[in-house]
Symmetry: C2
């Protein structure tokens, strides 16, 4: 992060004028007291935007939220974990509307000012009665503890993901806070991940939309755990202007600083999502350069970062450049095998498409760490791209083979 | 298989005029006596063709073989296992040429009449001296035991893969024999798989090329184990006319029967490759219908058949249609969620994009079998496509995470 951007404690309620709350409804587990319903609320009017899954099969709350955003600014986000409200048909849409309606009535907002999110199991009706019963308690308990919301949106995450920063816009300090959840089904173009961002910066509508798009492209669209794209991915950003800075407009003063801060917040959360992927043991940055185009560089990064065999080798601490180059070869990018160099954390593993003379112990040491990079230079042009990915562990498969069917109510 | 096509015992030496041999060179394992060098030879002139990996990074023997096929018909195939001779630079090309040269001299052929294949580890120089030392013994031992070659090409395969059939062309019975190896890196468009086909049918050059393309498209291009495409995939077909049938020409008499037999031979081997994939426990046929186009049907089949999360659920005997529909949604095909039906071995799991009322026990019973089908009907058009794939097991990952590095000579 640039020096102007300072990380501070507190999370999503750090920006002025934002409150949140979380309660346990028994959706995640009817028998355990686990937080599974959260509310984020701006006491002030906002401008906001959302970026949603590109999956053709998308959940009811995603459809509703993106529709609401077309005509209204978001003032509140209501989100449950434990059930995705996806593949739930007409009833699913009714349930999502009920979540919005209960929230708007409780807060005195228009229904369209509420964003609705769900994450969890697909194809099982949402137990809306349990949510309805807890709504008054949720709204009454609105306060400044952002950690509650970070915990309430977790599914198979092992830890809450939260960040807050300050950045100077002109002479005014503005704050950005954010929480996210990830774990499985993580792939570029949005996966089962949710991210909610609050900021007290004053930002024009056009700027918040453009800045969010750019930040998502630099962060959540550059991570991959298992190559699966979810039905529920959502990034929602609300800016309420409570910091009192001069409104940031597209390309205007402060835009560069704000965008850098927003991108860095999302990138930090994106990396946390990968590192906390289901049974993940490594956070790996794949950096491609020298490609004939940026598109080619992206193709190579996605092929390497998505290759099962490459990811298995990382889990085994194996600096297996042979598997890396074979994924480079099938990426669809222009490749001249005899020009390809491959590095592990800067240590040369392959040169001109062949084994380098580096001692294997040096390469193994690089790959043995819990964070390392794989550098690939195609020596064909100036195209560059990087993304974050993970290893693939036997435990991931074991975790995901569990017989959910037995736990499902039909 | 159609009734006209009869499966018989014997394998690759069943067609008249073909011989094979295999020896142990110590490439797979210097200390164990494992067959790792095989030779297949036609005593008669042939017409032949090859289909090779589309990976931009391709092994020296693949480059050499495809180049030879441009100007010569193949009379012999020399193949080693244990080392892929890929990413081995100039020396790799010299070594592949040496393999061809030693074979051609021993058999009295032109060098270009030899096809060369290698399969195994990438990026390690081929121990050509060990091959050279064993060539005289290999050539002297040419005989009729096709099983030797089937075993010699195995890498992580657990069993040899061989088939032979007879089919009537007019009044003449012709024979087709074939062997294959697979196991890891199996993906459409050719993976680490090798397949060698012999036939004593008399076939025109144009017909053997077209029939082989068609058969590969119906078989090896429709299987997927791990989504990785190898550097060494090769299918090589030799037809020597020893059966004495009237030459089969493109679209001429016997072409349909010959193509059906050739396709069925390759499809049987393709299914064997999936079923014997590394640590695979299920052979799953994904059948898509009702797509807006055949291309869309293929997109859906490949997304579902390639989804890590879907494959994990199969390993756990979980009839998880939610994961299937989420892969349908991100396939890139035109999809209307509310029209999608999903079946497990014909039992309805989801209807109109939602859970069907089928008892879960019936769905579980279907998925619990070692072979089952997943049917997906998009109800949008007439596009159909099917492919064979496997589950993904913790043992697959465990197998592929092994630290090969320690076993490599640098």
């Amino acid at each position: 992060m640039a020096k102007k951007i300072k990380t501070i404690a507190g999370g999503i309620c750090v920006p002025k004028g934002f409150q949140c709350a979380a309660v346990s409804c028994g959706i995640k587990n009817p028998k355990a007291d686990r937080l599974d319903l959260a509310l984020i609320y701006s006491t002030e009017p906002t401008v906001g935007t959302g970026v949603f899954t590109q999956n053709e099969v998308c959940a009811a709350p995603v459809r509703l939220s993106s529709s609401y955003l077309k005509s209204s600014e978001p003032r509140a986000i209501i989100v449950n974990s434990g059930n995705a409200n996806a593949c739930t048909g007409h009833q699913g849409m009714l349930d999502a509307r009920t979540m919005a309606s209960l929230t708007s009535k409780g807060l005195g907002l228009k229904q369209r000012e509420v964003q609705i999110c769900s994450t969890g199991i697909i194809g099982v009706p949402l137990p809306i009665d349990r949510i309805e019963a807890k709504m008054p308690e949720l709204i009454e308990s609105l306060g400044s503890d952002g950690d509650l919301a970070a915990r309430a949106i977790m599914t198979s995450d092992t830890r809450p993901k939260s960040i807050s920063v300050t950045v100077k816009i002109g002479d005014t300090k503005v704050r950005i806070g954010a929480i996210a959840k990830g774990a499985g089904m993580i792939n570029p173009h949005m996966a089962t991940m949710l991210c909610f961002v609050t900021t007290d910066a004053a930002v024009s509508k056009a700027e918040i939309v453009a800045a969010t798009r750019e930040a998502v492209d630099q962060s959540f669209n550059r991570i991959s755990v298992d190559g699966d794209m979810s039905t529920n991915d959502s990034v929602i950003v609300m800016a309420n202007g409570a910091a009192g800075n001069k409104t940031i407009t597209r390309g205007g003063a402060g835009s560069a600083e704000f965008r850098e801060a927003l991108s860095s917040v999302m990138l930090e959360l994106a990396k946390k999502i990968v590192a906390d992927g289901e049974r993940v043991t490594k956070l790996v940055k794949v950096c491609v350069r020298g490609a004939a185009s940026k598109m080619d560089a992206e193709r190579v990064a996605r092929a390497v970062g998505g290759s099962q065999l490459v990811k298995c080798s990382w889990n085994g601490n194996d600096p297996n450049w042979g598997r890396v180059i074979h994924a480079v070869g099938y990426s669809g990018a222009r490749v001249k095998e005899e020009l390809v160099d491959i590095y592990f954390s800067g240590v040369l593993a392959a040169q001109n498409g062949m084994a380098a003379k580096t001692e294997i112990s040096k390469l193994s040491a690089a790959v043995r760490k819990s964070e390392f990079s794989v550098g690939i230079d195609l020596h064909l042009g100036k195209g560059e791209y990087s993304l974050y990915t993970s290893d693939l562990s036997p435990e991931y498969v074991d975790f995901n083979r569990e017989e959910y069917a037995l736990n499902r109510k039909r």
